[in-house]
Symmetry: C2
Subunit: 366 residues, 2 copies
C-alpha cells in the first residue's frame, strides 16, 4: 500500500464504493464500510469488500482515509458530515461525477480533495463490485490552492494503488471539462433519439429504419435517470453553456446549408476529421495508419470463433473490433480495426478465403 | 436471376457500382459497365465485375436494366442521359443517398425508379468491390404514383437478387427520413467534435480527456467530404428542418435545466430509454433481456482469443461485442452483450475464472 494509508473507510458501499474497497484490500489496506442502507452494507460485507461499521461515526473513527461514494446529490452533506466526524489527520475524498458543489461544501478543509474516477460504471448495488473496476481508468483529483502537497500525494498514491491514473484539475475546470466530454454527449444522444422517436415520415418510423449512424449516436441515450438527473442539475451552469454553444454552431451550419456554401461545409468536415485524428491519437499512436475491415456475418454460432481463430493463427494484431446485429434474421456487421495497410491486406485476404466479402477503408479519410 | 433481367449495365463502376455488378453476376446476370474515368472502368473489369463498354450509349444499348451509381451531384444529369439513350423497355434505377433531385430529373419517366442501398460503404474505387456488400442491407426504392407494378416488381427482384431487402417509400419521404436517421446524426457528430476540439478548459484538451461517450458520439464525424458535402447540400431543406427542430429541443432542455426541473429531465431520459428499447427491438427481439458485460483487458496478444474460446466452449451465445482501446499503454475495454440474466451470469463467471473483473448491467435500464 502506498503512502502509508492502511486504514480505509468507504462511505457508500454500492458498486463504486465496494469496488474501491476490494481494490484497496487487494493493495493491502484494511477496509471498513458504512452505508445508510443496511442491505447494501450487508451485501458489501458478504462480498468481502468491507468490514461493516455500526454507524457513520464508528466507521470514520480511526480511518486514515475516508472515500465517500454517495450519489451526487448527497455528496456535499455527507462529505461535510465526514469532515466533522473525522480526526485532524483523516484524509477525505469522494467519487462524484461533478466537483464544484462538493468542494464548496468542504469549505477549503485542508483534509479534503475531490475525486472522480472515469470508469463508465453506473451506480448499482455492491453485488457486482470488483477490484478491477478502476484498472487503467482516469481518476480526476481536484486540489485547491490551499491543498498541501502531502495530502495530494496521499490521495494520488491511494488512487494509483487502486489501478487508476490520477489527473489533477481545478474543480470548476473539471465540471466544464466533463460538461463537454460527457454531459453534452449524453444530452445530445437523448435529444436526437427523442427527435427521431417522435418523427413519423409518411408512415415510416425512423427508429425502425435506423442504420448504424443513429445507433452509434444514441448508445448512451436513456442512461440511468437516478444518476443523470442529478448530474445534469448539479452541473447545469456548465451544461447550459455547452448547449448554448452547441446551438450557436448548429445555427452556423444551417446558415451554410441555406447559403449552399459547399466550401464552408468541406472545411467543417475537414476540421472534424482533424479533431477525430487528434482524439484517437491518445488511444492508438498513429490513427492515420488504422484500417477498418467490415464484413456481413450470418446469425450462426461458431462464425466468430472461426474468424478470430484465423486472424490469431496468422498473428494479425487486431486493434479494435465490433460486432453489431442488424436484425434478428439478417445477422450483423463485424468491424475489425488493424494498423497498417499491409496488415489490413493480410486480414482481408484471410476473411475472403473464409468466404466473406470485405469492405476495407481507412478509419480516417485522408 | 429473378424477373428476367439478364442484361445489366452499371454506369459508374466505383465501389458500389462494381459491387452491385459482382452480386448481379453471381446471381446469373450478364453485366456490362461504363465509367467516365477509364482507370476506374479498367479496374472494375480487372476485378471481373463488368465487361467494359466503349461509350455510355454503347453500354446502355441492349440493357434490360441500367443501374446508375454516380456521385449524388452527378446523378440527375446522368440518369436523364441514360433515360434518353435507353430503349423503351429499359429499366433504370440508381443508388444515390438522396432521392428527390434524381427523381425530379427523371420527370415521371415510366422506366425509372430511384433506389438507395444502406450498406454503410463510402464511395471508393472498384478495387475493393465485393459481391457481399448488400447482403442483408435495406435498399430503399422510391416509386411514384405513375410507377407501373411490373417496373416495381422488376427492380424489387433485381435488388433482392443482390441480397438486399427492398423497402418502397416516396422519394420526398425518403429524404426526410434519412435526414433524421443519417444526415442529422452525421451533422451532430461533426458539430460536437468541433466544439470539443475548439475548447480548452484550464489547459486541458477535451479531446485528450475524451471518455467513451464522446468517442461513441463522434465515430461518424469527419466522414468523406467528397460525399458528404453533396449529400448535405442536396438534402439541405430536410436537413435544415431537422437541425431547427433539434435546436428547439435543445432550448427546451436548457429551459428545464435553468428551471432546475428534475421531473422534466427524468421524463425526458425515460422517453429516450423507451425509444432506445424500440429502436433495438428490430435487431434483438427483446432488448430488455440484454445484459452488458464489461472487462478491462491488458494490451497483450492472445487475450481475446482466450476469452472467445472460453465463451464458445461454454456455448455462450454472444449477441454483440466490442473492443475499444483506452490508450496505447492502458489496454482497452471489452464489452460483450448476451441475452438473459442466466446467460450473463454464466459468461460473467467464466470471465472471472480467467481473472477478469466483470461489470455486469442491463443494456436498457428498467
Amino acid at each position: 500500500m502506498m503512502s502509508g494509508l492502511r486504514a480505509i473507510t468507504v462511505v457508500g458501499t454500492g458498486l463504486i464504493g465496494a469496488s474501491a474497497a476490494l481494490a484497496a484490500r487487494k493493495a493491502g489496506a484494511t477496509v471498513r464500510g458504512w452505508d445508510p442502507d443496511p442491505e447494501v452494507l450487508r451485501v458489501a460485507h458478504e462480498r468481502e469488500a468491507v468490514e461493516p461499521a455500526a454507524t457513520l461515526a464508528d466507521g470514520v473513527a480511526g480511518a486514515d482515509l475516508v472515500l465517500v461514494a454517495a450519489p451526487v446529490a448527497e455528496l456535499p452533506h455527507v462529505v461535510r458530515e465526514v469532515l466533522d466526524l473525522g480526526s485532524a489527520d483523516c484524509v477525505v475524498t469522494d467519487v462524484g461525477s461533478t466537483k464544484s458543489a462538493v468542494c464548496a461544501a468542504a469549505r477549503g478543509d485542508a483534509r479534503f480533495i475531490g475525486g472522480h474516477p472515469i470508469c463508465g460504471a453506473e451506480t448499482r448495488g455492491p453485488d457486482r463490485a470488483n477490484a478491477e473496476l478502476f484498472a487503467g481508468a482516469t481518476w480526476f483529483l481536484t486540489p485547491t490552492a490551499g491543498t498541501g502537497p502531502e495530502l495530494l500525494r496521499a490521495v494520488h498514491g491511494f488512487v494509483t494503488s487502486l489501478g487508476a491514473r490520477p489527473i489533477a484539475i481545478d474543480a470548476g475546470a473539471h465540471d466544464r471539462l466533463v460538461a463537454v466530454t460527457s454531459h453534452l454527449p449524453h444530452a445530445l444522444a437523448n435529444v436526437l433519439l427523442n427527435q427521431a422517436g417522435a418523427a413519423r415520415v409518411d408512415g415510416h418510423d425512423p427508429l425502425q429504419a435506423a442504420g448504424g449512424s443513429l445507433r452509434d449516436m444514441t448508445r448512451i441515450a436513456g442512461a440511468n435517470p437516478r444518476i443523470w438527473v442529478d448530474i445534469f442539475l448539479d452541473n447545469r451552469e456548465a451544461v447550459v453553456a455547452a448547449l448554448a454553444e452547441h446551438r450557436r454552431r448548429i445555427e452556423q451550419l444551417e446558415a451554410a446549408l441555406t447559403a449552399q456554401d459547399g466550401g464552408q461545409l468541406a472545411r467543417w468536415i475537414a476540421e472534424a476529421a482533424t479533431n477525430r485524428r487528434r482524439m484517437l491519437a491518445t488511444a492508438y499512436g498513429d490513427p492515420g495508419e488504422l484500417q477498418r475491415l467490415r464484413v456481413h456475418l450470418p446469425d450462426r454460432p461458431g462464425v466468430l470463433a472461426g474468424i478470430f481463430q484465423a486472424l490469431g493463427a496468422e498473428r494479425i494484431n487486431v486493434q479494435d473490433f465490433e460486432m453489431e446485429h442488424l436484425s434478428t434474421d439478417r445477422g450483423g456487421t463485424l468491424t475489425v480495426i488493424v494498423a497498417g495497410e499491409e496488415e489490413a491486406e493480410r486480414a482481408s485476404a484471410l476473411l475472403e478465403e473464409q468466404g466473406y466479402g470485405v469492405v476495407l477503408a481507412p478509419v480516417i479519410d485522408a
